[in-house]
């Protein structure tokens, strides 16, 4: 049995839990709230401070989706979570430009952990005040080749598109590396 994982990250309240919940076949294991309400409990409790979803492919293959905790005080977990990941998704809260800087910061940190492909999902596009993916792309100063995708975490179809776009990027990169 092989397990692969992808990481869903992004600023506080960007919609990571919602995103994973939309496609996971199990109820997302939410561990964060418990910890925020009881901040005194330490170490072994915080190591599970993440969302966790699952998509079974067949008897031999399972995909896990890990959502990072949005709060900075858990960022020591990011590197552990990112280990061995196939790729990652940075969710951006499109209605809160005050979080763009944080999103960019998170993106840079994950890029420094691993050279795996990533996509950016401009979430909450259903809300009238949402910035467009094109504007967010410029605001985050990411390169032309970076995919910034429209997303509504509650809408399974857009979540699927984001995951698929990431997988296509992963495939392309594998292909390119083989051709070298």
């Amino acid at each position: 049995m092989q397990t692969v994982k992808m990481v869903v990250t992004g600023p506080f309240s960007a919609g990571k839990t919602e995103f994973i919940q939309s496609v996971s076949e199990i109820d997302v294991v939410k561990t964060e709230r418990k910890i925020s309400s009881d901040a005194e409990r330490v170490k072994n409790e915080t190591t599970v401070a993440m969302d966790f979803g699952r998509i079974t492919v067949d008897d031999d293959l399972v995909l896990y989706l890990f959502g990072t905790p949005g709060q900075r005080r858990f960022d020591f977990m990011w590197e552990i979570l990112s280990e061995g990941m196939l790729g990652f998704i940075v969710l951006v809260d499109s209605v809160r430009p005050e979080t763009f800087r944080e999103a960019k910061h998170i993106l840079e940190i994950f890029k420094s952990y691993a050279t795996t492909p990533y996509v950016i999902a401009a979430n909450k596009q259903d809300l009238p005040d949402a910035w467009s993916p094109e504007d967010i792309k410029i605001a985050l100063k990411v390169g032309k080749g970076t995919k910034v995708l429209s997303c509504v975490a509650r809408d399974k179809e857009t979540v699927k598109t984001v995951l698929l776009e990431l997988l296509y990027s992963i495939l392309e990169k594998m292909q390119a590396e083989e051709d070298m």
């Binding site: 061995g84 196939l86 430009p97 420094s112 467009s132 605001a139 997988l167 292909q175």
Partner: protein, 276 residues
């Protein structure tokens, strides 16, 4: 689709940069404590600017910029009696009150005054109204935003934001983008920085080479970054951390797979997700 927020989170520089890069057309409305600035853009260029107290009439602009006295304006106002600034402008020139150059310079200076002032606002709710242009009665003048952004940044004295945008100068280097430098008004200091750009030179070294202090070099680099003339890279020799040897079982297994096996895993995932 909206473009809304507050300058404390997304600065004037960042906004103008966005308008410039996305070649936007429309009106940017910024409001703070009841006073508003309005900037109009056409395909990424600033074409008109005014504020809530002035209203953007040609006569007001010329008086403010000292091209016309209040008395002259009062008389002209009665005589020309038109709401079109083009008619007013023609009248002013015909009656030899101002020259064409006065009008061009006056309007331009007025627009720049409004927009440069906006760079000093640390707060202010903004809203971008897509495709909204000034009334046909107003005079417009297209100004390239590259230079506006560079100059506007020279006037920003607030170092907190600079510190935020460019935290550790020893850990970043610069790369010149393929944006043409021709037509962009660079100062001598800008050129001094540019001449030291090299993948092995951190910004800190660039500052040292030029005997600039950190604040100085930050301001220059920030301005050039916002205008899209340079971008940040990792200095050579400070590459991102190599991925460590996987310690989990799944990680070790993935590392021992052949390329074909790895690709087949991804293809299976794609098929599965399509079926969700």
């Amino acid at each position: 689709m909206a473009l809304k927020g507050n300058l404390k989170d997304f600065s004037t520089t960042q906004l103008l940069n966005l308008v410039n890069l996305a070649r936007k057309t429309g009106k940017l409305d910024v409001n703070q404590d009841g006073s508003s600035a309005y900037l109009y853009f056409k395909e990424g260029r600033l074409v008109h600017a005014t504020n809530s107290s002035d209203g953007g009439h040609l006569m007001t602009m010329l008086v403010k910029m000292g091209k016309l006295s209040r008395e002259q304006a009062g008389v002209a106002n009665k005589k020309s009696a038109s709401s079109s600034d083009k008619v007013v402008g023609k009248y002013l020139m015909d009656s030899k009150l101002v020259t064409r150059e006065d009008i061009v310079q006056g309007v331009k200076d007025y627009m720049l005054e409004i927009v440069y002032d906006l760079f000093t606002w640390e707060l202010g709710d903004f809203f971008f109204e897509q495709n909204s242009l000034p009334s046909g009665n107003r005079i417009t003048m297209p100004l390239n935003l590259d230079n506006v952004i560079l100059e506007g940044n020279r006037r920003v004295q607030e170092s907190g934001r600079l510190q935020d945008e460019l935290p550790d100068l020893g850990k970043i280097a610069l790369k010149i983008t393929d944006k043409p430098l021709r037509g962009v008004k660079l100062t001598q200091d800008d050129w001094r920085v540019i001449s030291h750009i090299h993948p092995r030179n951190s910004v800190k070294q660039i500052a040292q080479n030029n005997k600039m202090d950190e604040f100085q070099v930050r301001k220059i680099v920030y301005g050039m970054l916002q205008a899209g003339l340079v971008e940040i890279i990792h200095p050579e020799g400070l590459e991102p951390k190599k991925q460590r040897r996987p310690v989990t079982r799944a990680g070790r297994r993935a590392a021992s797979q052949t390329p074909a096996e790895k690709r087949s895993v991804v293809t299976k995932l794609i098929d599965r997700i399509k079926r969700i």
